[in-house]
């Protein structure tokens, strides 16, 4: 049995990844932050168990993704005024503009591509785990990832900050 992981260490190591996952689904606004908080509150409640699992990051990332998708579904049931991908305020000259634009572009992808990009490229899960989480074949997950990358490259003036494939292959 591995030494239990201190909760703080998990926040330090995986907090940023979990935020990226939530933002990739919900865009860079407060819903994503709520999903982050819910993920870690759930983790804290069950931390005696989770602290000892080998792949804590995988647990956090999949739970965050599910919670974010739940929020997305709840919002789409609420009615027609979908504002999931809000316009950002003027960000000219601010360095953080690029990454928020990226989340907006990811959130706008078709769901299959968005999931593959989020879990594989942002959260670093191998395609086998992306496939297991989404119930599709690894090959289909890989195709969705490749299509998503192509779509992101095509969208206006985005510089992709993740040139490296977690499986060690080029996208």
């Amino acid at each position: 049995m591995p030494t239990p992981l201190p909760f703080e260490t998990a926040i330090d190591a995986h907090g940023a990844t979990v935020l990226r996952v939530c933002r990739a689904v919900l865009g860079g606004h407060v819903d994503a932050e709520d999903a982050w908080a819910e993920t870690f509150v759930s983790a804290l409640a069950d931390w005696d168990r989770i602290a000892r699992i080998e792949n804590v990051r995988g647990w956090l990332v999949t739970v965050a993704h599910r919670k974010a998708i739940d929020v997305l579904r709840a919002k789409s049931r609420q009615g027609p005024s979908l504002d999931l991908v809000p316009e950002s305020p003027t960000t000219r000259g601010r360095p953080e503009a690029t990454h928020l634009d990226l989340y907006r572009a990811i959130a706008a992808l078709p769901p299959g591509q968005r999931t593959a990009i989020t879990l594989h490229y942002l959260a670093g899960l191998p395609y086998a785990e992306v496939a297991a989480e989404t119930g599709i074949s690894p090959a289909a997950a890989r195709r969705a990832g490749a299509d998503g990358i192509r779509a992101l490259r095509a969208s206006a003036s985005l510089t992709l900050p993740f040139p490296i494939d977690p499986d060690g292959e080029s996208a």
Binding site: T3, P4, L5, P6, F7, E8, T9, I11, G15, A16, L19, R20, E33, W36, A37, F40, V41, L44, A45, W47, D48, A51, R52, P95, E96, T98, H99, L100, Y121, L122, A123, G124, P161, F162, I164, P166
Partner: protein, 197 residues
């Protein structure tokens, strides 16, 4: 592995989210251990507290990740960084290192020790600032004259060094013996206490 550089905006958001999570963990009583790392003349020290009291003082040479792993194992893994619960200990240590304090007045949680070691460790604060005893003296004082080695072990495994002054116990021949913070730290503590005693 994918490595995105953390954007400044992201760091701000994470700091705020972490703060809210800490409040949640504190107010719901979920937190088992709080810790903070302070700078001292002996290098960085990790101070950890449970709701009962100060439970661990660790030197950097013990490796803080290892120390936190042991706390997770022995107390519980709901460990969060928070200066407030160890604020008083940090303050008293600062006074001690500044030469303004000779003994400590913080509530201790002694759960990381065994009964006999605990007995030794409870005895240690009666050795006054600037004075030393031998392992044999301590064993005799506790009415266990043959337990010298056990006294040595109790000093060596003291989870609350400095605050519980195991550095004031030496070998019978006057040699330093061991110290969890390293012999340089033990020498420095004894030297600074002697000059101020």
């Amino acid at each position: 592995m994918t490595s995105l550089t953390t954007a400044p905006e992201e760091t701000d958001v994470l700091t705020r989210l972490r703060g809210d999570l800490l409040t949640h963990a504190t107010t719901t009583g979920a937190r088992e251990v709080a810790y903070s790392i302070i700078e001292t003349p002996l290098g960085r020290l990790l101070l950890a507290a449970t709701p009962v009291g100060l439970v661990r003082v660790a030197f950097e040479r013990e490796d803080f990740d290892t120390v936190l792993g042991t706390l997770a194992e022995k107390i519980g893994p709901r460990i969060l960084r928070d200066a407030d619960p160890v604020d008083r200990a940090a303050h008293e240590l600062a006074e001690y290192f500044a030469g303004e304090r000779r003994d400590f007045d913080v509530t201790l949680d002694r759960r990381l020790t065994t009964p006999f070691r605990g007995e030794v460790q409870r005895f240690l604060p009666s050795i006054e600032f600037g004075h030393t005893l031998s392992y044999r003296d301590v064993a005799e004082a506790l009415g266990r004259p043959r337990a010298m080695r056990a006294v040595g072990t109790a000093c060596a495994t003291n989870p609350l060094p400095i605050v519980v002054p195991c550095h004031r116990v030496l070998r019978t021949d006057g040699q330093l013996g061991g110290y969890i913070g390293g012999l340089d730290a033990k020498r420095a503590l004894l030297e600074s206490e002697r000059t101020r005693a």
